[in-house]
Symmetry: C2
């Protein structure tokens, strides 16, 4: 397989370029006319670290790589613009599988209004997908960082969490699926394999006046810790209020684990955690509901540092930061 | 080693951010205020494919990754702006080596006015460095694509070529170094290990009215072929006119190869190939000379397709396109 032939096959299948793109794939560099402010993030996934080829189809791997990258734009409240991909191809991955992987990227790109504007393909010992995404906003102040949370703010979380971690455990230990309805098990596995970046939720939260925001890629414990550290505040969360996905508790019980640990430590839910002044909460709940995703309040911001997650009985839930090199 | 600790150590060592960067490393995404047009390119290098850890120091690997990416901006005539890095760390690469690798990136970034604005670190089976670079220009028309060469244009090449390929052969077969002065051998090896992106040459050529431009990353044969294909012209080059680096001929003779083949097929010289109307040639030669690099005319553009490289006796040099997946 030649790199150039593969890139040509991929180019032919891409959706049309967005309005900011003057030159897409095929020259030394893509040329865009951004205007306003840009948010840029890069995310890499590697076989055996972030996914396993025996669990994921090539299209799912492509989807997940772009979803993880776009999730960072969602966490800024940016509108997705362009994506640039690096594909590291191991010897046993054929050209058709590469094209299928790009189809997974292209489908999510089309659904989110993202233009695949450039890329590189190289040999590699393990399948590797690294994607740089560029998002746009009218100005820098429209984007929400991790650093603006203030004591007294409410902490909110979008969607359902713990699903990706429980889904991963079901993929690794299929026998645990006997403990829950098959629809729930299927949905948990899908959450792990095909996460959805919350781009519309992120924009709605930015417009509603979120003071700080982060996506839940490493686990609620670690990610809330990053936001707390950069905002120089403490986040006090209620374990009972965490919106665990259906089936998470059943998987936890079957595996002898605490249900909230899937949300706190496992990561990859790609939901958003944000902080808001109390006066902005109702309009945030309403406008996020308009995107089809539910927003729930899970705690509050206090002076201090770090993250506390308490059970209803006041017991402190262990908040293992997800701190391994992954 | 923790990803976050490593990123923290790296952040502390970075040069200050450029004027367009509002938020650099450490949030979900970097925030920039681009203005004008941007040129964006991504390039990945993998141990065992583009370099070998036994030949290159970590700093040289970091340097080469950024140099290869910046070379694409040079080929557009863009001013370098921001870089976003993905580092895939194998189990046997320690934290100090990672920091040294980033020092190599940071040194070239500082020398070229590039801000390291974001990155991701992940485990990987082989050392992998993927870098996305963003360059800037006042408007899209200031950037030079591969597609504008016209019959009658002159073809020019910057600097010396064949050095990176000859240097690689010297690294792999050290006994060949006996056939040339040790200074030349050292310089050839350095060309392979520490290529220099021709950013000032690219800007000078763009200002001088280059009609098309590409960097020599895959080898003159393949790269000239890309430019010819996208411009829908033929490039007729003189093998005798190619500016081979000192020592290339000696290495070729010792290895039983044709000297020009190092320039034509081996790649990684990261010099620039451009086309210009004859009336612009003299001002291009003068302004590129002002950057400290020599520009030479190596042929002309004709109607037709593909690339011809002829020996003085009229014999056609085999122009093997560099078409493997690398």
């Amino acid at each position: 397989m030649g790199e150039f032939e593969l890139l040509e096959r991929i180019r032919e299948r891409l959706p049309p370029a967005g309005p900011r793109v003057r030159i897409g794939m095929g020259d030394d560099a893509a040329v865009t006319l951004p205007g306003g402010a840009t948010a840029t993030s890069v995310d890499a996934i590697v076989d055996g670290v972030h996914f396993r080829r025996e669990h994921s189809s090539p299209a799912q791997i492509g989807h997940k790589a772009l979803a993880a990258a776009l999730s960072d734009l969602a966490a800024m409240g940016a509108e997705p613009g362009e994506a640039y991909t690096v594909l590291g191809v191991p010897p046993d991955l054929g050209e058709d599988a590469c094209v299928e992987l790009f189809d997974g990227i292209a489908l999510l790109a089309a659904a989110t209004g993202t233009t695949l504007a450039g890329g590189d393909v190289t040999r590699a010992p393990a399948l590797t997908v690294a994607i740089t995404v560029v998002g746009h906003a009218p100005d820098a102040d429209s984007l929400v960082t991790r650093a603006g949370a203030r004591p007294g703010d409410i902490v909110v979380v979008s969607g359902k969490i713990g699903a990706a971690g429980a889904g991963l455990l079901l993929l690794e230990r299929p026998e645990l699926a006997a403990s829950l309805p098959s629809d729930d098990a299927e949905e948990l596995r899908r959450s792990q394999l095909e996460p959805q970046p919350r781009l519309r939720v992120g924009c709605a939260l930015a417009l509603a006046g979120a003071t700080a925001m982060i996506d839940l890629s490493d686990g609620l414990g670690g990610d809330a810790g990053h936001l707390a550290a950069q905002s120089k505040v403490q986040l006090r969360l209620s374990a009972e209020a965490l919106p665990l996905a259906a089936g998470v508790a059943a998987v936890a019980t079957a595996a002898g684990l605490e249900p909230a640990q899937f949300a706190v430590s496992a990561g990859e839910d790609y939901e958003l955690l944000a902080t808001l002044p109390p006066a902005r909460l109702q309009s945030a709940l309403d406008s996020v509901a308009g995107t089809g995703t539910k927003l729930v309040a899970v705690g509050e911001v206090a002076g201090g540092a770090g993250v506390e997650i308490r059970q209803p009985d006041g017991r402190l839930l262990a908040t293992t930061g997800f701190d391994q090199l992954r």
